[in-house]
């Protein structure tokens, strides 16, 4: 029973398009008032982008970032789900583990960087661990919380109908935790992405979008800075909207009819 003024139907994509247009417009207006070397307009940035796409530099950075993201995020999701389900079988110690996660989570993932760099030295490993750590916490927490909030009556009903333990897990627990699991996975993705870009900006190793951004900044190359910002924003939006939202709509179909 909401105010009823939410927008539906064809208006939603329209709002997204207008939002993008609005951002580009503001950018272009700022660019017009500032000197070129402080803020380039849209066109030179797009030119730079198409140039770097053609030259192949772009792919090296993109692939480097995506490889780190994929590895870190993948490890985090797998460990998070396993950890969450395992914790569900504990009782009081689960509460302790939850607090461990909550405390460690209050530390920005980037703060681990100096530690990991010293322990593992330069390289991909500390970066991937930071990304994984950033994603692990929300993933594990969401699964832990979800297993707790399965409705008791849903379990009782299945037992009355003669469900086997495995049937109970497969047909009641799993679909019941799915919404929170997916929300957790999306949250984890946002965290992983932020951690990735930060750690790439901070650690000067290998190729990556974050490093390419900080390099552009260090060399005062504003066109490069804007081009990289653009790529980072578009990529995050694409992965979230095209990949994660699709998976969500597929798995939670019943919520959208």
């Amino acid at each position: 029973m909401s105010n009823g003024t939410r927008i539906g139907g064809y208006k939603k994509p329209l709002a997204v398009v207008l939002a993008i247009a609005f951002i580009l417009l503001v950018w272009q207006l700022v660019a017009l008032t500032l000197p070129d070397f402080l803020m380039p307009g849209i066109l030179p940035v797009l030119e730079r982008l198409s140039e770097s796409v053609r030259s192949g530099d772009f792919y090296a950075g993109l692939m480097g970032s995506l490889a780190r993201l994929g590895t870190g995020y993948g490890i985090a999701l797998a460990c998070g789900v396993a950890f969450g389900l395992l914790a569900a079988s504990l009782n009081f110690f689960r509460e302790v583990l939850r607090n461990v996660i909550v405390i460690l989570q209050s530390l920005p993932s980037i703060a681990w960087v100096p530690l990991f760099l010293i322990v593992w030295g330069f390289g991909n490993k500390p970066m991937i661990v930071v990304v994984a750590l950033a994603a692990f916490f929300p993933a594990a927490l969401s699964v832990m919380n979800a297993t707790e909030s399965v409705h008791k009556v849903h379990i009782s009903a299945a037992r009355v109908m003669g469900a086997s333990p495995w049937g109970l897990v497969r047909r009641v627990y799993l679909p019941a935790v799915m919404p929170e699991l997916i929300t957790g996975a999306q949250l984890a993705f946002g965290n992983a992405w932020r951690a990735l870009i930060s750690v790439e900006m901070l650690v000067d190793f290998g190729k990556g979008l974050g490093r390419s951004l900080s390099f552009s900044g260090d060399t005062g190359d504003m066109t490069g800075v804007m081009a990289n910002i653009l790529v980072i924003a578009i990529l995050a939006a694409l992965i979230d909207q095209l990949v994660l939202e699709r998976i969500k709509h597929r798995l939670l179909r019943y919520q959208y009819v």
Binding site: S156, R159, M161, G162, R171, P175, M178, V257
Partner: protein, 257 residues
């Protein structure tokens, strides 16, 4: 199937909820349980279903002690217990699938039962897409489809409007006539109890003990309850309600107590 309680006690922690309850219920019989809110009626049904253990005393079906849930004893929960991620048809079919009926056949029988409770055309709707009354009907279909020998109904018609309520009462009577299960029916509605039941058990406030039992099995079932006016008056007064217009102050006292 005969269901019998012998000297059943139930405590939650130090809270005594059922106090020395003994009774026998027989195949083809509908017994209505009425009593104040929180008196322990739902707890009785849960114990009969095998979802809760008794603190002491035994519950038996045909001389077999009840230790765990079994599809032959089906419970319709007071709260909404459909799975939100399944369509109405899938929800109803689940009762059969847990008993290893092939999916196709389960779906067919589910569709038939949805029709009997007046839900044809809504087979592929999800629970949140239909009204509370329709959900309640689907829950009843899910209970009926397993052809239980003991049917435990916890305020099954509570959420329904007058029309639907009357029609589903008929579906129940029809089922009892054909399959002759043992039916325990918890209800707040004295008229409903008088119309449906062969026997009415009136419970005291917590811990639940039987105040009085009314045997109505001799009478012709009718919505015109004028023949049962005396019983109705007595039940209401057992429940603490004077039929005649009382002075306000006494009323408020009673409510505040």
């Amino acid at each position: 199937m005969n269901l019998s309680f012998s000297n059943v006690y139930k405590q939650f922690g130090s809270l005594s909820v059922v106090d020395n309850f003994s009774a026998g219920f027989h195949s083809g019989e509908i017994v209505a349980l009425v009593g104040p809110s929180g008196s322990g009626k739902s707890t009785l049904l849960h114990m009969a279903a095998g979802l809760e253990k008794t603190t002491s005393g035994t519950i038996e079906t045909d001389a077999q002690p009840v230790t765990k849930p079994d599809p032959s004893r089906t419970l319709v929960f007071q709260e909404h217990a459909l799975y939100p991620w399944l369509t109405l048809k899938q929800n109803v079919a689940m009762a059969l699938e847990f008993q290893h009926v092939a999916r196709k056949q389960a779906y067919e029988r589910a569709a038939t039962w949805l029709q009997r409770v007046g839900l044809d055309g809504f087979e592929n709707y999800y629970p949140h897409q239909v009204s509370g009354g329709m959900r309640q009907r689907a829950a009843l279909a899910r209970a009926f489809i397993a052809e239980p020998e003991v049917l435990l109904l916890d305020e099954p018609f509570g959420a329904l409007d007058a029309l639907t309520r009357l029609s589903l009462q008929d579906v129940l009577l029809d089922l009892v006539e054909q399959a002759r299960p043992t039916v325990l029916l918890v209800t707040h509605d004295v008229d409903e109890a008088l119309f449906l039941a062969d026997r009415v058990m009136v419970f005291s406030a917590r811990p639940a003990t039987v105040l009085k039992e009314f045997n109505l099995s001799h009478r012709e079932r009718s919505h015109d309850l004028s023949d049962l006016a005396a019983e109705k008056r007595e039940i209401l007064s057992l429940l603490g309600i004077a039929v005649k217009h009382e002075s306000k102050s006494e009323q408020s006292d009673k409510l505040a107590a």
